[in-house]
């Protein structure tokens, strides 16, 4: 340390401590961050508080293992959780290949001039409200897909998942809900995976071409391996969106509350639908059961959305 007296100019004293306004600013920032955190915690807390009765008094383990949602005596959450999960699975099965196609089409196949427009269009379609999709599904898709679904049930019925219990009754099914939700999440999945694929190193793609590779070869050997994490992340995000989707399912799905293996026919409930339809008219115990079901759904979607973000972020770190 030099003695300050021995030099002409007073050296700048670097202080580690913050100035007053900075402290206020930091507190302000931290407060707003904390608000977000508190909201999440209180959602969980209030659902748990409301669902406490159902967890302790009525059923305990049966709540999580029962396959029929029959209020008020023995509701089993599987009766409506399985429907939610099935819808999400059908949606992602249909949406993923199509979303990847559109992402690859925009990035690799479409004319360069069209790319910006197509990207904007896909992002734009992602903001269409779910009630509009639900309304369309109820009025249009439910009618359009009757012929194909009937055909699948009649001719492909030998495949276990297409087996039905009620021949001739194919509307308002989990399958149709899955299709609507698939159309809703296509822009989400496509947008995330397109962005990641665009970050694939261009020189490696060009090198693949230079070695005489085909375009498909460059996709499978360069672009897809590079963007694998991003695609997985986008898929998990899509699943979490599909799991929590409410309005389209409320409008289209028939009223059912037990597990059914026939996805083409009516059967299977949905947690979000059950809450939307019956929560305000339930008694206090019914509400408690629904709140616990809601907590189950929320926990499930949290796992998927958080997992999706973590995986997607890892891919950005790699690049």
């Amino acid at each position: 340390m030099a003695d300050p007296e021995s030099v002409d100019e007073t050296p700048l004293v670097l202080k580690h401590s913050l100035t007053g306004p900075d402290r206020v600013f930091r507190v302000l920032l931290a407060t707003s961050g904390a608000i977000v955190f508190v909201v999440l915690i209180s959602i969980l807390a209030f659902l748990a508080y409301k669902g406490w009765w159902a967890l302790t008094n009525s059923l305990r383990l049966h709540f999580f293992t029962g396959t029929v949602w029959s209020t008020p005596l023995h509701p089993g959450v599987l009766g409506i959780l399985v429907g939610s999960v099935l819808i999400a699975l059908i949606a992602i099965t249909v949406a993923l290949p199509i979303a990847l196609s559109i992402a690859l089409m925009i990035n690799e196949y479409a004319p360069v001039r069209l790319r910006g427009w197509l990207t904007g269009l896909v992002d734009l379609l992602a903001v269409i409200p779910s009630i509009v999709f639900g309304f369309w599904g109820l009025e249009a898709l439910n009618v359009y897909v009757r012929a194909p679904v009937t055909w699948i049930a009649e001719h492909l019925g030998f495949i276990p998942i297409f087996r039905t219990t009620e021949p001739g009754n194919y509307s308002d099914s989990v399958f149709i809900c899955g299709l609507i939700v698939a159309i809703m999440i296509i822009p989400v999945v496509a947008s995330v995976s397109r962005e990641v694929m665009a970050q694939a190193p261009r020189d490696a793609v060009e090198a693949a071409y230079g070695l005489g590779g085909t375009r498909w070869g460059s996709i499978t050997d360069v672009i897809l391996p590079f963007s694998r994490n991003g695609i997985v992340g986008g898929t998990l995000l899509g699943i979490s969106r599909a799991l929590g989707e409410t309005m389209a399912v409320v409008l289209v799905l028939s009223n059912n509350n037990q597990v059914s293996k026939a996805i083409l026919g009516p059967g299977n409930g949905d947690i979000a639908k059950q809450i939307a339809d019956t929560f305000p008219v339930s008694d206090i115990h019914g509400q408690s059961e629904l709140a616990l079901a809601g907590l189950t759904l929320f926990a499930t979607t949290l796992v998927f959305s958080l997992g999706g973000r973590l995986v997607a972020r890892r891919s950005v770190g790699q690049s």
């Binding site: 961050g33 379609l125 009025e139 296509i186």
Partner: protein
């Protein structure tokens, strides 16, 4: 300066040196494809007619599968496996992409076809009248719902946007454990099922307050639960790309942290922040499940968001859907058209403002905002 750099990055690096791209469509390829399609159509028609299957979905399905296979075999025999894979992949990707666009645009077109005539036929009245049908019983409108949506989304935006921006700044500027926790929280909450947010506010506020619990303001709070994380995530992305050199330069000449954040970082990212804010608004304006338990609805005008039940557009659509008459359903389509127009307009506005700010930094918007930005050095 910053804007120019950011912009150059977003342009595909392919453009400047125009690499040798394989021609996507060759004449042989088209002939192969058309030939395979025609041949398989004939084959499928013959077989299915002989088998006595009625024309319908099955024909189209079998035709698509058979022509795909036939095309593959054709290319494989002539050009080998590698080219076959390439061609089949091209066909698949175009098919998938076009199916997706057709399906999504089909939804938009359907809503326009159903809803636009409803709005157009009784043009100003549809946007002004309430939903009781008036004295004549036929003059339906969605005026109360439009008022409700504007007020609720407006209040939600006033609450959410400052919190979202401050939270995003916090996550980027702070390195603390809490900041990382908050980032994970935001990530987790973007996936919150909207019904859960509605349920939360219902349990927290509406249920304890009974009949008077529902109002436009409560609905706005519920929308904020969704709007904060969505806006915050989008804001994060743009605040992150503000170059660290700008931040360090300001800090190096002695600017305090709050000034760096408010005068350097946020103004640099302003175009992106405007986009983030409008996107958050557009995403939440259509949320239905959240307002289902909290807004109350009802066909009458209620201008006061703080007292009494209030209608809004998503809720109006939801209520119209379950009414038995065809007229009620088509009023629902009209409402859907108005809602979709509102949301898409907001989205396009967000894009235009975002682009205007980054490409032409001295555009009208830059001119309007420039009086507030004094050069940091002069402080």
């Amino acid at each position: 300066m910053v804007e120019i750099l950011a912009d150059r990055e977003s342009v595909s690096p392919l453009q400047p040196d125009r690499p040798n791209r394989k021609r996507p469509v060759s004449r042989d390829g088209v002939i192969d494809l058309v030939g395979a399609a025609v041949a398989s159509l004939a084959a499928v028609w013959l077989v299915l007619s002989l088998a006595g299957v009625k024309f319908g979905f099955g024909y189209v399905f079998c035709w698509a599968v058979v022509s795909y296979a036939l095309y593959g075999v054709l290319v494989w025999r002539r050009d080998g496996v590698l080219i076959m894979k390439e061609r089949l992949a091209t066909v698949s990707i175009w098919t998938g992409g076009v199916i997706a666009l057709v399906a999504l645009l089909g939804v938009v077109a359907y809503v326009v076809a159903k809803g636009f005539p409803e709005v157009y036929d009784s043009f100003p009245q549809f946007l002004v009248n309430d939903t009781t049908g008036g004295k004549s019983g036929v003059a339906f409108g969605v005026g109360p719902a439009i008022v409700g949506t504007l007020e609720q989304v407006g209040i939600a935006a006033l609450i959410s946007i400052p919190i979202a921006f401050l939270t995003a700044t916090y996550i980027v500027e702070s390195r603390s454990t809490l900041a990382r926790l908050v980032q994970n929280t935001v990530d987790a909450m973007t996936g919150t099922p909207s019904i859960i947010a509605g349920l939360f506010i219902y349990i927290l506020w509406v249920y304890p307050h009974g009949v008077n619990g529902r109002s436009g303001f409560v609905a706005a709070i519920t929308l904020s639960v969704m709007m904060i994380p969505v806006t915050c995530r989008a804001a994060l992305e743009v605040i992150r790309v503000v170059p660290g050199s700008l931040r360090e330069a300001a800090l190096a000449i002695g600017a305090p942290q709050w000034r760096v954040a408010l005068r350097i970082v946020l103004p640099t990212a302003r175009a992106g922040l405007i986009t983030a804010a409008i996107l958050g608004v557009a995403r939440t304006a259509g949320e239905t499940a959240e307002v289902l338990f909290t807004a109350g609805g009802g066909p009458h005008y209620n201008w006061n968001p703080f007292h009494g039940e209030q209608d809004d557009l998503p809720l109006r659509i939801y209520e119209q859907v379950f009414q038995p008459s065809a007229k009620a359903i088509s009023v629902g389509w009209g409402a859907a058209f108005v809602l979709m127009t509102l949301v898409l307009t907001l989205f396009i506005l967000a894009r235009l403002l975002g682009r205007g700010g980054s490409r032409r930094s001295f555009s009208l918007w830059g001119f309007i905002t420039s009086w507030r930005r004094s050069p940091p050095v002069s402080e």
